[in-house]
């Protein structure tokens, strides 16, 4: 009986909130473009274009600046590249696919903006969920060994398709404070089905990024991703700091028009896919791990 009352109470609460939002939506409209694009350096924003919009994303990261002028601060060094296509089939739901040079990974991704911030602050923040699945496409010879063992001491077998999969899930909360300042914070969970001994399969991370609009089309942008060291979910038996992933700190400048965004930046990761950065980033300011990169997005409206 107690259970039934609880269900009725919950149901009535949900319907009340839903109706309240419907009424509010009539009077209050979502804020205009909290971010210029769905991508912000390597991160995602709560922004999703209109329904039936196709987006092409080019992400390019040069090598690190560690060698100085000998390879023109990484411009002549090997680069990491991602080509992605996103489509918006329903309002505030975006599906995408991308090809990454790093580990020859194909990623399938989805983003859902659950709540949009409104002009009159009926909804003070935007909330979005983002998730992807990465499929490592390297030949078996690309791995350090063609055998895997289940768990730390389990049976040994061959690398199979599920071993190639990695996952990233993120909750993003953002707010456009005024015409100049938009900020976002997020929490994420990354999982790899396969790892080298001494590395983790799971990682929780926190994220903080934003933009400061300085001209009509230009903004200063930044992104910070911090993988957390949590002993209870770590399998790093020796608990050393040797294999800990380093945070990604990036800052840059964005120029945007209605259908384009161009971002040029410097950041401390060589990876583009978020789960790779959260799990494996070895670059930092200490080892001159900064690299130049840019992002170009192009939208086609229906």
């Amino acid at each position: 009986m107690k259970k039934n009352s609880l269900i009725i109470l919950l149901f009535s609460l949900i319907t009340t909130i839903a109706f309240a939002q419907d009424e509010a939506a009539e009077k209050d409209a979502p804020v205009y473009l909290p971010f210029e694009s769905g991508s912000l350096i390597d991160a995602q924003t709560t922004e999703i274009p209109d329904v039936k919009t196709l987006e092409f994303v080019i992400q390019h990261k040069f090598g690190t600046i560690e060698n100085g002028i000998s390879d023109l601060w990484g411009l002549y060094s090997s680069a990491n590249i991602r080509l992605g296509i996103n489509y918006v089939p329903y309002k505030n739901i975006q599906l995408g696919v991308g090809l990454n040079k790093s580990h020859m990974t194909t990623d399938l991704n989805a983003k859902w903006t659950i709540l949009e911030q409104t002009e009159k602050n009926t909804v003070p923040v935007a909330v979005a969920l983002y998730g992807n699945v990465g499929i490592d496409g390297r030949p078996i010879s690309g791995y350090s060994n063609d055998s895997v063992q289940v768990g730390y001491t389990g049976s040994v077998g061959e690398i199979k398709f599920p071993d190639r999969l990695s996952y990233f899930a993120q909750l993003i909360v953002g707010r456009k404070f005024n015409e100049h300042l938009s900020l976002q914070a997020g929490v994420s969970f990354s999982h790899y089905n396969i790892a080298d001994l001494g590395y983790d399969h799971d990682k929780i991370g926190v994220h903080f990024n934003g933009r400061i609009k300085v001209t009509t089309q230009g903004s200063i942008i930044f992104n910070y991703d911090q993988p957390l060291k949590i002993k209870s979910i770590s399998e790093n038996r020796e608990w050393t700091t040797k294999n800990d992933p380093k945070p990604n700190i990036a800052f840059g400048y964005e120029v945007s028009t209605g259908a384009h965004a161009f971002q040029i930046y410097m950041g401390t990761t060589n990876y583009i896919l978020p789960q790779e950065t959260m799990m494996m980033n070895a670059s930092s300011f200490d080892n001159k791990g900064l690299s130049f990169g840019f992002v170009i997005t192009r939208l086609w409206y229906h």
């Binding site: 350090s144 289940v150 599920p162 494996m280």
Partner: protein, 129 residues
Amino acid sequence: MKKYKIFFLVAVIGLLASACKYDYIVPETVVIPDNGGNPISFSEQIMPIFSNGDQCTKCHKQGGFGTPDFTKSAAVVYSSIVPAYVDTTNPEGSTIYINAHSGSHNNAKVSGTEAALLLQWITEGAQNN
């Protein structure tokens, strides 16, 4: 349209069902180099590592994106990497050792045995022999 939705749903469930595996790559058996008391030879033991499997020479070649060029003669390669990429006071901190075995340098990763050989050569003073 309905067909696509079902296909999409099956694909999502399939990919999620494959999650939560906790497999490890079996570590390879590293053979610690035993040179019978002789120092590691740069020309005979270190040079072949750079071209093995095209791991380094894929980029580090004439006309390639990487510098230095590892396809040149042992004497030329030696002068281009020592001392620029080698730190005999801290062998494990040598750029050439880190880039060759950590996997953070453009996905290149030499085998554990090759990495041990490289480290021992640096520890022995990175001789041009």
